[in-house]
């Protein structure tokens, strides 16, 4: 088991390295750098001005060298201007000569500087990540139990009316991407002129103008049911259908097993059969699915945070990517790649632990 985990960790590291290199290469292509120079400097820069701007900031070195500097295994660039002013990757011209470090990359804990937010990348990513963590936690708390309940109820009696209605519901949710369900929810539940809200307000059943708030910006400080439920519901619904269908498949398989028949013939109550005999074995497969679903939630998070204007990690990704903020984008991709790989690892290990039939030597 130890060797298995070590080997997986090694592959993970290699994958993360390759992926960040690809991101690095794509963001450092010349047209992207030119755009960066023009947005940071001014839009009417001549080609020579762009080149000297990029040259002075170390952008025109070969990509592997830049990547090494970003990682912190190659000494950072140092430029000496004609006026004798020395600037470098790791220091400004004001830093005393003795305090100037040679290396500054992510290995030294320096994630760089965001050109969009004019802040250090590390703290920016951390604050946004905390906000998204809140969102994800709520999503998981809503999605996992409801998906499992739907799946177990549907798989309990295969082919019954309950099974068919719940299966249709699951298929419908997997066919509804976040940008569709979000739009429909806002129009029906959070519009002061359409849908349910004006009707409920007329009846005097709700206090404000709308049943839910269509923007989650205020939920960043103070999340309430009123302003936070719609984004959470939107993400949960899309992921839910898939988990529910997996749970249903696993449940129907277990319900036809020999030991369930034995229990029925012994005269065990149906509720006891479901809860005590079937449930535990039926939940092995959904566990893997839930873990593998988390990277997909990341996509949903990006869409929903854009739609509901919740300034978390997904919103940060969109900002970084649309403005070609290289170092911020790299940090964002490192984090998301790690999320993907760690969940894969956990799902593999968890599967081995939960399923006694699989042994890894």
């Amino acid at each position: 088991m130890g060797i298995f985990i070590l080997r997986r960790l090694g592959v993970m590291l290699l994958t993360a390295l390759c992926l960040t290199f690809i991101v690095f290469w794509l963001t450092n292509l010349y047209p992207n750098l030119e755009k960066l120079a023009k947005t940071q400097g001014n839009f009417r820069m001549s080609d020579e001005a762009v080149t000297s701007y990029l040259e002075n900031r170390g952008y025109l070195q070969p990509t592997p060298a830049k990547f090494g500097q970003w990682l912190g295994v190659v000494p950072g660039w140092i430029t000496e201007a004609e006026s004798g002013k020395v600037t470098g990757r790791c220091f400004t011209s004001d830093t005393p000569v003795d305090d100037r470090p040679r290396f500054c990359g992510i290995l030294q804990g320096d994630w760089g500087f965001s050109t969009v937010f004019k802040e250090d990348v590390g703290p920016t990513v951390l604050t946004r990540l905390a906000l998204t963590g809140k969102l994800m936690l709520c999503v998981l708390l809503l999605m996992v139990p409801s998906a499992l309940i739907v799946g177990v109820l549907a798989g309990m009696r295969e082919g019954s009316r309950l099974d068919r209605s719940l299966s249709t519901f699951s298929i419908a949710t997997t066919a509804t991407p976040e940008y569709v369900s979000g739009v429909i929810f806002i129009a029906v539940l959070a519009s002061s002129r359409f849908g349910l809200s004006p009707w409920l307000a007329d009846m005097g059943w709700i206090d404000g103008k709308t049943l839910f708030l269509g923007s989650a910006t205020s939920a960043m400080e103070d999340a309430t049911f009123w302003n936070f439920f719609l984004p959470v519901l939107t993400i949960s619904l899309y992921g839910m259908g898939y988990i529910a269908r997996m749970t249903r498949a696993s449940m129907t398989e277990v319900m036809t097993a020999q030991y369930i028949r034995t229990a029925r013939l012994k005269g065990v109550k149906f509720s006891d059969i479901v809860l005590k005999h079937a449930l535990r074995n039926a939940l092995i497969a959904p566990f893997t699915v839930i873990m593998l679903q988390i990277p997909w939630l990341l996509n949903g998070v990006v869409i929903v945070e854009t739609l509901f204007n919740y300034k978390g990690f997904g919103w940060l990704l969109v900002q970084a990517a649309s403005n070609n903020d290289i170092e911020l984008l790299l940090a964002v991709s490192v984090v998301s790649v790690i999320v993907v790989l760690v969940t894969q690892l956990i799902s593999d290990i968890g599967y081995v632990f939960l399923n006694p039939r699989i042994r890894i030597t």
């Binding site: 010349y30 209605s165 869409i303």
Partner: protein
Amino acid sequence: METLTWTGSMGWLNPVLGLAVGVMVVAYALQILMSLIPDAQIRTVGSGGVTAASQGVSGLLGRLGGYGFLAAIGILLVYLLAGVIIGPAAGIFGGLAQQLLPVWIALVVLFALSFTFKRRLGLYGKLFDSTVGMIGFGLVMFWVFAGVFGGVFDMLITHDSLSQVSGMKNKLPGTPLARAEPEDYQWFLLGGDNLARDVFSRLIKGSWVVVQIAPMATLFAFMVGITLGLPAGYYGGKLDVFLSFLANLILAFPVILLFYLLVTPEIVLTGIPNYMALVLFIFPLVFLAVLLNSRFYTQPSLRTPLLIVVLGIAGWLYLSLVSTDGAIVDAPTYRLPGLPAFMDLFDIDPGVLVVFVSVVFVNAPTVFRIVRGLALDIKTRDYVAAAQTRGEGPWYIMLWEILPNARGPLIVDFCLRIGYTTILLGTLGFFGLGLESESPDWGTTINAGRRLLALYPHAAIAPAVALLSLVLGLNLLADGLREESLRD
């Protein structure tokens, strides 16, 4: 002209429809609730020893719900027929039904033909044994026909999808056209968007974009996935490790980040998407060449002319696909010459090409993993061992023994994946990537409409519901196919 209501002169049917739906919902809900309460099931023994469970209250409720369902369907058909005959007098629904008349005719013809010959049509015919599959197929074909008639022949649309009509900005569904000429269509059936364009016409035009790109992109992704997945699964070893690592690498990328990195104007300038197109689109050629060669290499007199003709046509299509204006890559600093313009069969808009390439790129690794898994499973079968003993080559075994036996899961996944590709296309449009901003495709329209969502939701709701119904149709179709292919 007056503003149209949703059902117009057929409004008297609305309470009846409400009643039918209400009966259905209440009856089914009660039946489900009752099924949770355990009851001693009484079985009656009929003549000949047949046992039948007594229907009881639950059966009664089920029958009631069934009647409600049939009544609701019947009333909807009445709306539809009335709409086809009297048009906008039957409200917005009537107007829509009349505009979509060619689609209805095509659907009826298709279903009638398929029903008549369903025993002779293999898996496709079996689809018509499953209700779910038929509903899904109907939804999908509705949008396919709408796309073809509206997008290619300009038949269904009421107004030009790009022209702006003054005075129609953000107007609600059913608003009569301001200052209409007599030959114009008199209403905006689904309202106007925030640039005063007709939402309905854009919806139909947008369906053509989706119906064109999604299946083609999925097909290319399957070609790539199959051509790489079969050897990875069959040979195993170092090749498998390497290809699987590459696939996992792409899969570990968050899709949206990948889109943002690939589908920006700056990246298009560097020509990277063109190189990717060059590599990804060669796979169908490789696939065809290996497929035919492995089968016919023992008969060179047949094989050689066949390969020359097939690869000639495919190669021409390939070169037309990757080259635009006589160049494959046209970056500011250099130029890679391609097929000269006079031989170029069709030009693909660079924006569409980028979208196409990135969607194929994202889908191919998943297909690769599925095909690899299936190949790993099937290569242990007896018929593969028999072929090996006969001395067949590895590619013959992969493409003519393993692949046909893996077709069931692959067809099902193909349907699901078209739906997923549609969702991805919508995602690209939602973030304003790739296609130009006035493109009528559904994702872009949703993106344009979401800014005014709380005030004028109709401009975003219409494409959202359309996308939902198409993807739902594909999922139901896949479900029906899976059920029917498991049955044999």
